[in-house]
């Protein structure tokens, strides 16, 4: 691998890390799609700043873009506050409007500055190492190192400084307000970060894929952990590792590096979505299947408990062959449950009539008293283990 490739990987990692930090709070605040909006609304800001400055490499372009992004957030709030439309509709009108103005301005005024579809959608991370920062005749690396590194630094400093406030506004806006923290100020600051980050990353990965860098690592981490601190660290880890891996895949397959990065992030998310412990879809479905059995066992016991109290009822309601009908279960399912309970000697069957054993009755009474059967289920399994020993 050449230095060129290494440099691209470093840029990819820096960009992702910079995006992940505000992304975590976007996900927690249910504002993920703001990143999509801001990413697009940046365009007219860049164009107008360019018209004023006249230099496509000027840092003022970033400021123009950031202001346009914030303007979009403001416009969304303004439209929403009229109460004439819902918030999602406001966003769905505001950002395409601003993006369209950007595209029209480019086509009409700067017909010679050709915007290539690819640079909007893919960015040009593959070319980033060619644009180098030379100070005093010395080549000190690609400019993107410093731009993305700078944004990452700003985001980290802001995150560390305002961690407490961000945490509070993300989880309990009312409490934050009671403690004198204005969630509006925090939100606009967060949006400023998103805006600056999006425009800095635009060069490398383009407007749409920025959304993936911000949302996918945070959403993956959200599937894995409960604490904000660990969520930040895990998102960073997932984001940087997958971007680096994605960039390498991009080299190997000779395809667009940013698209490869995002696809890798997407695949990692899908794997986590499927397999994350407890919350992943596969463990979730397996667990609910198990739960269904445990739940059914308790239902069976409780049903018996209910009806064994009433004598004349017992014959009919507690007849093994009526059980499926009573509970409205499949016959085979009912049989399966009965066998499981028989095996653990929680019930006994005499002349087709089902009875609770003492142990079964105790469990049924316990079940009637708790609100969460899951807890009981564990104790049930524990008991079985000790009995086996």
């Amino acid at each position: 691998m050449q230095t060129f490739h290494l440099e691209i990987i470093v840029i990819a990692v820096l960009t992702t890390a910079a995006c992940v930090l505000p992304g975590v709070f976007l996900v927690l605040n249910r504002m993920s799609l703001m990143s999509e909006g801001i990413g697009h609304a940046n365009l007219p800001g860049v164009v107008i700043a360019f018209a004023i400055v006249g230099n496509i490499r000027s840092p003022l372009l970033i400021i123009g873009a950031a202001i346009a992004g914030l303007f979009m957030v403001y416009l969304v709030n303004l439209l929403y506050k009229t109460k004439l439309m819902k918030e999602d509709a406001a966003l769905g009108i505001a950002f395409p409007f601003l993006f369209s103005i950007g595209v029209i301005l480019i086509s009409a005024k700067f017909g010679n500055v050709h915007i290539h579809a690819n640079s909007v959608f893919l960015g040009q991370i593959g070319l980033a190492p060619l644009d180098r920062l030379v100070i005093g005749g010395m080549d000190i690396g690609p400019k993107s190192f410093y731009i993305m590194g700078g944004v990452l630094l700003i985001n980290s400093v802001l995150l560390i400084t305002f961690f407490k406030e961000l945490k509070l506004t993300s989880f309990d806006k009312a409490l934050a307000a009671a403690m004198g923290i204005s969630s509006a100020i925090i939100m606009y600051s967060l949006m400023t970060c998103v805006s600056i980050t999006a425009v800095a990353a635009f060069d490398s990965v383009g407007a749409v894929l920025v959304v993936a860098l911000m949302i996918a690592p945070a959403a993956s981490a959200y599937m894995l952990c409960d604490h904000l601190n660990s969520m930040v660290w895990i998102s960073l880890l997932i984001g940087t590792l997958s971007s680096a891996a994605g960039a390498i895949i991009g080299f190997l397959l000779d395809i667009s590096i940013s698209a490869a990065m995002v696809s890798t992030l997407g695949l990692v998310f899908i794997v986590i979505l499927l397999a994350a412990p407890h919350r992943g879809l596969i463990p979730h479905f397996m667990h609910s299947k198990k739960q269904k059995f445990i739940f059914a066992e308790y239902l069976y016991l409780v049903h018996l408990l209910h009806h064994s109290c009433i004598d004349d009822d017992t014959d009919f309601e507690c007849n093994v062959h009526h059980f499926d009908n009573e509970l409205d279960w499949e016959y085979h399912f009912t049989e399966k449950i009965a066998n499981r309970l028989l095996k653990r000697s929680l019930i006994k069957i005499n002349d087709q009539i089902c009875f609770l054993t003492d142990k079964g009755e105790k469990l049924a009474r316990q079940a009637m008293q708790t609100d969460r059967l899951g807890l009981l289920a564990y104790s049930l399994q524990e008991k079985n283990k000790t009995e086996l020993i």
Binding site: Q291, H303, D328, G374
Partner: protein, 248 residues
């Protein structure tokens, strides 16, 4: 119709509903006799709404059966009229009062068929009963909470059902509307209809209802209000949360 009125409007057998491993309703057995007005009473999270939703087949139970007039709900759907919680819909929806009332007849019309003049006439009659006829063309967002509830009641009345299932019909309505609604419900009962109503206000249970079921995940009591609306039953249902309320 004579045949129908002799059957039990609602019969629930061993009904259990669970959300994941959390039972929302636990082995409920309940029968609602014909021509009564039964209140479903219980604390928040007791499963009151879930209970009526499982009667209506909107919630899939973990076990148990529900019969409506002796049959599966699907078969006797036309005999049942449902009034959801007022706050469950978006009142800024672009539609008018009469339109909402006509929605009550969509079930009878079935798929694809459109409402016509006959339906409009029925809707107007229903609106007249709830005292909302002069507002028939009004947009629904311009109604007060009480008026919204009257519209929902009119939508239920227009169905001319045998069983009325209502979710908190008195929530957030003014005193005059509450009285008007109660009068209409009593009239329905006197005409032999059955009412199954989620109710929040313990103070008025005795005045409004003749039957009740007390629910807190499990059924703590069910039957005539005179017999079952007791301090002891309320304590059983509400736990310690009812120190200052009692069934006077």
């Amino acid at each position: 119709m004579h045949e129908i009125s002799s059957k039990m409007p609602i019969q629930i057998h061993d009904l259990t509903v669970a959300y994941k491993d959390k039972p929302v309703l636990w082995d409920i057995d309940l029968a609602v006799p014909p021509a009564v007005m039964m209140a479903i009473v219980g604390p928040n999270g007791a499963g009151k709404t879930t209970l009526i939703k499982s009667v209506l087949g909107l919630v899939k139970p973990a076990s148990g059966k529900v019969y409506v007039f002796g049959e599966n709900y699907k078969k006797n759907r036309r005999l049942v009229s449902y009034v959801p919680q007022r706050t469950s819909v978006d009142w800024d929806f672009p539609t008018t009062v009469i339109d909402v009332v006509m929605m009550g007849l969509y079930g009878k019309l079935g798929w694809i068929k459109r409402p016509g003049e006959k339906e409009k006439k029925l809707a107007k009659q229903a609106l007249e009963k709830v005292g909302m006829l002069e507002l028939e063309k009004r947009q629904i967002s311009q109604l007060s909470g009480g008026q919204q509830q009257r519209v929902f009641l009119a939508r239920a009345l227009v169905q001319d059902a045998e069983l009325y299932i209502m979710d908190e019909p008195f929530q957030g309505v003014d005193a005059a509307t509450e009285k008007a609604i109660v009068a209409i419900l009593h009239e329905l009962k006197n005409r032999g209809k059955t009412l199954f109503v989620v109710h929040h206000d313990l103070q008025t249970v005795k005045d409004y209802f003749d039957y009740l079921c007390l629910l807190n995940v499990r059924l703590t009591a069910a039957g005539k209000v005179d017999e079952h609306f007791t301090d002891e039953n309320l304590r059983k249902t509400y736990g310690g949360r009812l120190a200052f309320l009692s069934a006077k």
